[in-house]
């Protein structure tokens, strides 16, 4: 892999993203609106729920508003980064294949796209992290922020994989909605999880570890090494799968 090519690809991919001004603005408007809605409609009366990754007996008592804010922050970062990632791998297939034909390595191309995505995960994650203390003070802010980044990493990698797998934009959007809506948009909310009939299914979904990382850090002082490592592993598996599928799609014939 030629680092010079990765750097050029990364810089130019960021230039492309930077010119999608309305999309960029929406990346900051969407979490703001999500937070405002949660803040306005949820109650502040404390509720009790279990935190899955700590133990089955770990019961916390928190305001549903605060819990909802962390949950919606995770959903915002996860969904936005997965759509951005989908855009990166699915758009311009003809030009990207032409680049590969001209000598650009497939892994160089995907790495440069991934690094551009990392910048976007950082920007969106930091923005969501920055507005969280406006509404409430989490126990361990930096680890909550790490959870947001982890959600971006896992769902960003999922978006890259979907973009590499399906060629049409509508199919890609529906694939992301299919998983994101039910996973990071619903089942990972600890309030649902605590009473779920089949918790094993929820534990295997992509947003499980990032949401546990943020939730445990926001409301307890318990260890979060396991959800942190789990997020890293889950994201890396998805990213590797994206690289394999993307390489197959871009490969030249003998």
């Amino acid at each position: 892999m030629r680092l010079r090519n990765v750097r050029t690809g990364w810089r130019l991919t960021l230039s492309e993203l930077g010119r999608s001004r309305i999309a960029l603005i929406l990346c900051f408007v969407v979490p703001s609106v999500f937070y405002a809605v949660v803040f306005l409609i949820t109650s502040d009366r404390p509720i009790v729920f279990k935190l899955a990754s700590v133990s089955e007996d770990a019961v916390v008592t928190v305001s549903p508003r605060n819990e909802g804010l962390v949950f919606i922050g995770l959903a915002a970062v996860g969904v936005l980064t997965s759509f951005l990632a989908l855009h990166l791998t699915q758009k311009n297939p003809g030009v990207n294949r032409r680049l590969v034909l001209c000598g650009f390595g497939t892994s160089e191309l995907l790495t440069s796209k991934f690094l551009a995505l990392v910048v976007m995960i950082g920007l969106v994650g930091c923005y969501v992290g920055a507005i969280t203390p406006v509404f409430f003070r989490p126990e361990r802010f930096l680890l909550v922020l790490a959870g947001f980044m982890a959600a971006g990493y896992v769902y960003g990698s999922y978006g890259l994989l979907v973009g590499a797998l399906v060629r049409r934009e509508l199919e890609g959007i529906l694939f992301i909605v299919l998983l994101a809506n039910i996973d990071i948009g619903w089942l990972q909310n600890p309030i649902y999880y605590a009473e779920a009939q089949n918790k094993a299914l929820i534990r295997h979904l992509p947003a499980y570890f990032p949401s546990q990382l943020s939730m445990v850090s926001a409301f307890t002082d318990k260890a979060v090494l396991k959800p942190a490592l789990g997020s890293l592993a889950y994201g890396t598996v998805l990213l590797t799968a994206a690289l394999i599928v993307y390489s197959r799609r871009m490969r030249l014939r003998k």
């Binding site: 010079r4 130019l12 030009v95």
Partner: protein, 216 residues
């Protein structure tokens, strides 16, 4: 009078032997053979759906043939029929991306690609759009960029799919002037076009149709 395209061996920079391609049950072409020698300009025409673009995609390895073989000697430049440029990058940024792909921005090479880019922009009269975002350009100017990206690295063999569609008459003449200079330097050109206005620039023209290739 039409003859079956001769199979010429030896001395070719590009050679296709017995190529066949089908999509599902639909046979596009079969037993297609032709060669392109150094300093030759060869055209392939044919009706819509005859398989011209499919044949070129096989030549440049974007598609695999069902049968037959393709060999190319030297550096290949390929201009696809569809506009394969980054619409949200500027003209210069597109050149930079392809310069990296061709390995023209490596250590010790400075910005030689930028000099070559300047020369191409000047030749095809679109220097003033160097820093314009491609999506704001006319179709003809985008096509100039599409073509120029295929010659940035100084290829030995040019494979061009409808390279002058969208060109105005002046640019069309510039294109053939460029191709003529390229040929004089020993470069070889394979051009696919729906129809040919003027046969004089070509050394040979083939027609692809009814499943095979015939020399016109």
């Amino acid at each position: 009078m039409e003859d079956r395209a001769p199979v010429r061996t030896g001395g070719h920079v590009l050679e296709v032997q017995g190529a066949a391609k089908s999509f599902g049950r639909r046979s596009i072409f079969r037993d297609v053979s032709f060669g392109l020698g150094p300093g030759e300009v060869v055209g392939i025409t044919g009706e819509n759906g005859a398989g011209k673009t499919t044949l070129l995609r096989i030549v440049v390895r974007l598609l695999a043939p069902d049968a037959g073989s393709v060999s190319v000697r030297g550096r290949l430049g390929y201009c696809p029929q569809d506009m394969a440029v980054f619409e949200t990058l500027t003209v210069r940024e597109n050149f930079a991306f392809f310069a990296a792909a061709y390995g023209l921005d490596g250590p010790g090479r400075g910005r030689l690609w930028a000099v070559e880019m300047g020369r191409l922009l000047e030749f095809f009269h679109f220097s003033k759009y160097e820093n314009a975002v491609v999506s704001t350009l006319s179709g003809g100017t985008k096509q100039k960029l599409n073509f120029c990206l295929s010659v940035l690295h100084g290829p030995d063999v040019l494979v061009l799919d409808e390279p002058y569609s969208g060109f105005d008459w002046e640019t069309y003449l510039h294109f053939w002037q460029f191709a003529g200079d390229f040929k004089k330097r020993g470069g070889s050109v394979l051009v696919v076009a729906h129809f040919v206005y003027d046969c004089s620039p070509f050394d040979r023209i083939y027609k692809l149709g009814e499943g095979g290739l015939t020399c016109v």
